[in-house]
Amino acid sequence: MMNREQFQHQLQRIADSRCPVNRSRGVLRQVTTLLERIVQEIFADAVRVLPQQGAGISILATGGFGRGESHPHSDLDVILLFGHPIQLADEEFLKAFLHPLWDLGLTVGHHVLQSGQYRFDPRNLELATALLDVRPVAGDRKLAAEFQTEELSGVLSQCRNDLLSALIPRHRERHQRFENTIYQLEPDIKEAPGGLRDFHTARWIGRLLFGCESFAQFASSGLLAAGEVQEILDAQEFLLALRNELHFLTGRNRNILSHEHQAEIAGAFGYSKDSSLAVESLMKDYFLRAKRIQGFCEGMIRRAFPPARPASRTIKFAAWTTTVVQGGVLAFPDEETTFRHPANILKLFYRSAKYQLPIDETALNQVKQHLHRIDDDVRSSAEVRELFFKLLRLQKGVYDVLFLMHDIGLLGQLIPEFDKIRCHVIQDFFHRYTVDEHSLLAIKNLEDLYHAKKPRQRRFASLLKSLPRPELVSLSMLLHDVGKAASGNHCQNSLRDLEAIGARMQLSEQDMETVRFLIEHHIEMSNTFQRRDITDETVVRRFADFIGTQENLRMLCLVTYADIKAVSPEALTPWKEDVLWQLYVETEAQLTRAFADERWDTQQGRTLARDVADVLGNTDDLTVSRIGAFLDGFPRRYLNYTPKPKIVEHFKLAERVSGADDLSLRLSRQRSIYELSLVALDRPFLFAKLTGVLSYFGMNILRGQAFANRQGLILDIIQFEDRLQTFKLNKSESENFRETFKKVLTGKLNLAELLSRRESSILFHRKAKGPVSTCISFDDQSSEKYSIMEIVTRDRYGLLSTIAQVIAQNECNIDVALISTEGQRAIDVFYLTQNQKRLLPAVQAQLAFAMRETLDRVAA
């Protein structure tokens, strides 16, 4: 009998024999044969403990082993079938059979069954589905044949509906675990939507409902077209090859295509030599296949459980001339007449969204077969254009219908440019979805606004509802990234494609102008609110000048909202949503010249000091003059934009500062954002140390501001997120934070040591490292008082503190720091001054040099 070492050696031989033409089914066959041999040998040895030498016992392979598709480190699933009640001696046999398998290091999934005793139990769905893929591998063949042909087929036909009813919720639950999307950054080849489990679920439904034992029968029974069968089998083959490779690479039953394995497998599969391009191509191929399999699975589920939407009473039955509603689903009345006028196809989808009716599966198949009828004449017809606009104008169901149209190839047929971004991958660890899905999700985000319940979203919804032509925003979202399929500036590429699309669809010049503006500038507002200080009047004024009209502002704000939200579920944080809204409000005020000037006058000098004293509740002359002294020298940015109760808090903090070494700080929380205010007399590296200690406590810093008054008092305000909920869950930690900060400030604790300890946290351990090059630039245009330094670099622990230290070493002051992170990239923007002026070119060059040197050093 084979021992563990020999077994590993055999697996290694299979690994060594794989080549481009033998990566998938060939490997599976070899592994299955090896396992069969082992099972047969061990069985022959184990039955020696029995008096009847194995008569009446059969070993059935199930699951992947049953299908002849064992991966190198898959579980070995078997059923031990007894033709008689199990005796004491049989237990000895079980030990003699299972122990050697375990000793080989195999993970054995075994069920012991007695013939004639199996009853379907929905709680044990694994066994029920395992029984759908059984084949005898050792022992009593007659017993196995009787079990398969008589008992099993009888039980399966009896419990068919129960089995299906249990299977579908389990399928939904599994998809739920993956947020119902095939777009996983590190997909599980087996379990994720579009994975191998979906393939088998679809196959089982075909077998249970339509008796399809083979894929040829899926075609012959009309469930799939002949071409589709091949596409699905090719997709499965690709996933099988990926899973084999993962097993060989990791040496275990590992099915997650993690970032590090993506690069390795892309290399092994012979994709491009450029590793980043190779990974993008591999993942594009994966998503295309996963989508195909997901489509197959969802189609079979729809057949098993037709979507039962209780259509409104008026349209339970409707017979329009081009489409009919029968049994709650939309279909074509007559195939030939319908397709003679191809615009009818679009009408079917429009009506599906408008009346919230599912489309009949046969009608979808008919559309797929008649796609070629959509030619340039159809694309440029006014009827099609109007139907498409009408669809985009709907407030519900637009995303679902566009998704379906894209899935079956109709959207690409109408707008061929959109098909170029099908499953196009952006490999930056930030974009969760492929470009086509991102564009469609952006439309979903707009659609969801119509039904928004939360006040945060309803403010954006009010903008959408005020637009005379909301469909133009949706069209811009659909097309804003089509240029990503080609290399170069994607905005310019998208604009070029837009010209072709506009000419083909015969869009009016006015509509084209709007869409052109939105696509060309779709990242402008995002850049402004994330990378510029929007409390700086110059920034808002320049942005307002650029945007021109209120309508443009409303539309671009919606584009920005929908676009960022469609990057990943976490991309648009409540914080970003608030800052975007703030920029909208400030720009709107600038455009309408509403109250900005008025506010400026009323908050000046002693008037402001008196107002603050009012809020404080103490208006005696001494207090007013103390407040005046505190405010004296703070920039207008602080005086203008800080609510008076906040100024009172800061004043109280300042009153508590008793000497040069003293400081006072206050921590407050609003929803998920914390704000730390600190007042102290100026000292070197104050900001760097403060941000460093916050990083040590695991805080994600969003924005930092530093103000100085004429007395040399420093007010630092830092907003941050507590991602790990340390402060929320552990009351003692905020006190611990104060103590730690004081110790760091007085030199009793070494900040660098603290940070390096935190850097080793498993929670923040990042395996894969994509290419992020450091880029440092200065902008002297956007602000009248500050030099703006923008740093793009790889995110790491304590980065902000490191940068702040370099700035302090170069004797520059940070007035504002804006921090954002996109995957592995940190994009940090600093408003800097030196001696209260903008930085001289020589200082900028020196700072950039020192910064680059430090960042390169810490990265190494």
Binding site: D103, L729, I762, L763
Partner: protein
């Protein structure tokens, strides 16, 4: 080969075990233990009298793993056992020189 010992909250045991199962970590030893770390116990009321519970009940999981699986296991345990509150537990990783199967006498080759 490494011996990973982790001390976790009893309420997280099932989740941790399930997550480790997904990584195909099948062999483990689970012990009920008592102890304290930074948490230093808490006050409890028993029959109307307050007394200090200095040693808190915890679960200890021990498992021997191949070196290349350790990082992944640590990450999974940390993510699954973590509640964010003080007292979530500790993980220790120790080198293992040799391991033997008592039934067969075979030396482990993990």
């Amino acid at each position: 080969m490494k011996l990973v010992k982790c001390i976790i909250r009893p309420s997280r045991l099932e989740e941790v075990r399930e997550a480790l199962g997904k990584l195909n970590v099948s062999g483990m030893t689970v012990l009920e233990v008592r102890g304290h770390g930074r948490q230093k116990g808490h006050k409890a009321i028993y029959r109307g009298r307050e007394y200090s519970v200095t040693l808190l009940p915890k679960m200890m999981i021990e498992m021997v793993l191949p070196d290349d699986l350790v990082d992944e296991v640590l990450k999974v345990i940390t993510e699954t056992a973590r509640t964010g509150e003080i007292g979530d537990g500790r993980i220790f990783v120790l080198p293992v020189e040799q391991g033997y199967n008592i039934r067969t006498g075979e030396k482990d080759i993990v």
